[in-house]
Amino acid sequence: MHDSLMQLMYGFGVALQPENFMWCVFGVLVGNLIGVLPGMGPLSTISMLLPLTYVIAPVPAILMLAGIFYGSQYGGAIGAILLNLPSHPPHAVTCLDGYPLTLQGKGGTALGITMMASFFAASVGIVVMIFLSPLLVQAANSFGPADTCAIMLLGLLAGATMARGSPLKGVAMTIFGLLCGAVGTDEMTSTARYTLGVTELRDGIELGGLTMGLFGIADFLVSVNRTTISPSRARVRMRDMRPSRAEMKQAFWPMLRGTGVGTLFGALPGTGPTITTFIAYALERKWSKTPERFGKGALEGVAAPEAASHSKTQVDFIPTMSLGIPGDAVMALILGALIIKGIQPGPQLISDHPDIFWGLIASFWIGNVLLVILNVPLIGVWVRLLQVPYRFLFPSALFFIAVGVYSTRNNLFDVVIVAAFGVIGAILLALEFPLSPIVLGFVLGPMLEPNFRRAMLLSRGELSVFVTRPVAAGFIAASALLVMVQVMAWWRGRGKVV
């Protein structure tokens, strides 16, 4: 307890260093902005800013990327409440009651409540992270390669099935991502795999190239000449945002319950942010004595899902930072950035790089405070920026992507890779495949394969090692359970809507 407090103080020291602080501010601002913009998620923004992390030190790079992630959550809520834009799936449910509130002229109150709930939930999530991470690290120190493989398997399956759409398609995309990760020279035998005779591919596919293609170019291809978003003229004044005492009281318990849902589901593998917010909303409606108010502007319907989304966001960092196993695509990207910076993720990360771990935790608080303060004057600016037409937005973004991906390796071939993954992504989107599991597979693949090979070498080729070691067996069982649950849900849900 005392130890954690000391470490936390140290973390604040790291996060408040001018350079680190500056990048954290930059990250939350950019995240906030893109959270409001339709069609731009944290994934596409983090991929576009990935090249920038190559030129700055590891700590500020991670603080910035994390800032984009939770900054976009606040932005997503603004878009949902003021503009009825469900462009960010986890916040889609916030539209249901948030937008009616805006129509009733209480958009400011809804935003104020959202910010309060978000900040509270994020704080709870951070505290959970502080206390849970060291415990996980302790356990992880005794893991062998087989155990690591089993954990990765669960992580991959969870990431695949939590994405929107058919879980089967999600698993397929995870495997596709693993295959993309296998492109390049096999380190154990120096065999070039799937390089199609292209020299540049011997070093593998560039992470930035893959993600900017999938989440940048593919999105332009799908959206060009098809977007029908009309700008809104919603206006919010600062004094509108302070909720009244009665409104605070009304939102208090939903906020607590939402935080609980988010923390619990954040720790459970296999539940994505979208499912989490929908569950928080459904729970609130069931709990309410006046469920008929929901959908017509109930504050509870805004506070609970937003709290859930924010606590989950923070708890999501736990397996990423303490085990080196990311739970979703955004976490995979942040982990990928760490690897590019030469930092080996895994249980040793907290002790080897305490500046990264504790600095990150402290920056969460700093970033969240900043967001609450900045959101008030900035909302108006963001809303105005929304009026930049898409026809100017995408050519400019394309240019930044091209320059950005070139700059990572000073290689124009990587721009070809971006275009190729853009086409692949657009086709997959059209066929309703989720794209984010690809990133998860791509980042985890190069860690999964050597661990699997080592496990097999150690066990002399006996696959039974996965059921005889207790940790491995536990995670394999959990993976099997996850698959069974999905299959059963599919079997029961055939033809009818759940």
Partner: protein
Amino acid sequence: MNKLTKDRLGGALLLATGAAAVLAGSGYGLGTLRQMGSGFYPVVLGVLLALIGVVLLATATRAPDAHLATAPAETAHLAGPVVQWRGWLCILGGALAFVVLGQHGGLVPASFVSVFVAALGDRNNSVRDAALLAALMTILGVVVFHYGLHLLLPLFQW
């Protein structure tokens, strides 16, 4: 495109990709479970991918997914056919123009042409709009990337 066609096409695509991965992967040496060759892991992945493709083909139905029904689709705000030929051609053309002109022209022509061509992909952009946007982005790019971040690509080169 209805759900049935989408799933059938998707399944076929997975099957083909998996088969290709197995075919190419088996050439890298499979080895044994104890002493795996370079081809072992990718071939296993290829087999799994092809299997999922078969399952998807076999279970393709017209009915919407339960999962899709609860969450609004990512593309809900979009209308019209997916492949907008003009848009696709211009966006991909813009990206490739950056590659070719970056090699044989330098940062300035590459920036201008790539933004110009990409902007023409939107039906509402006139040639004048596209040229203005391209000029603006070129100036911004030179200032930020060349003078600010010292991008290695020279302004002009042949």
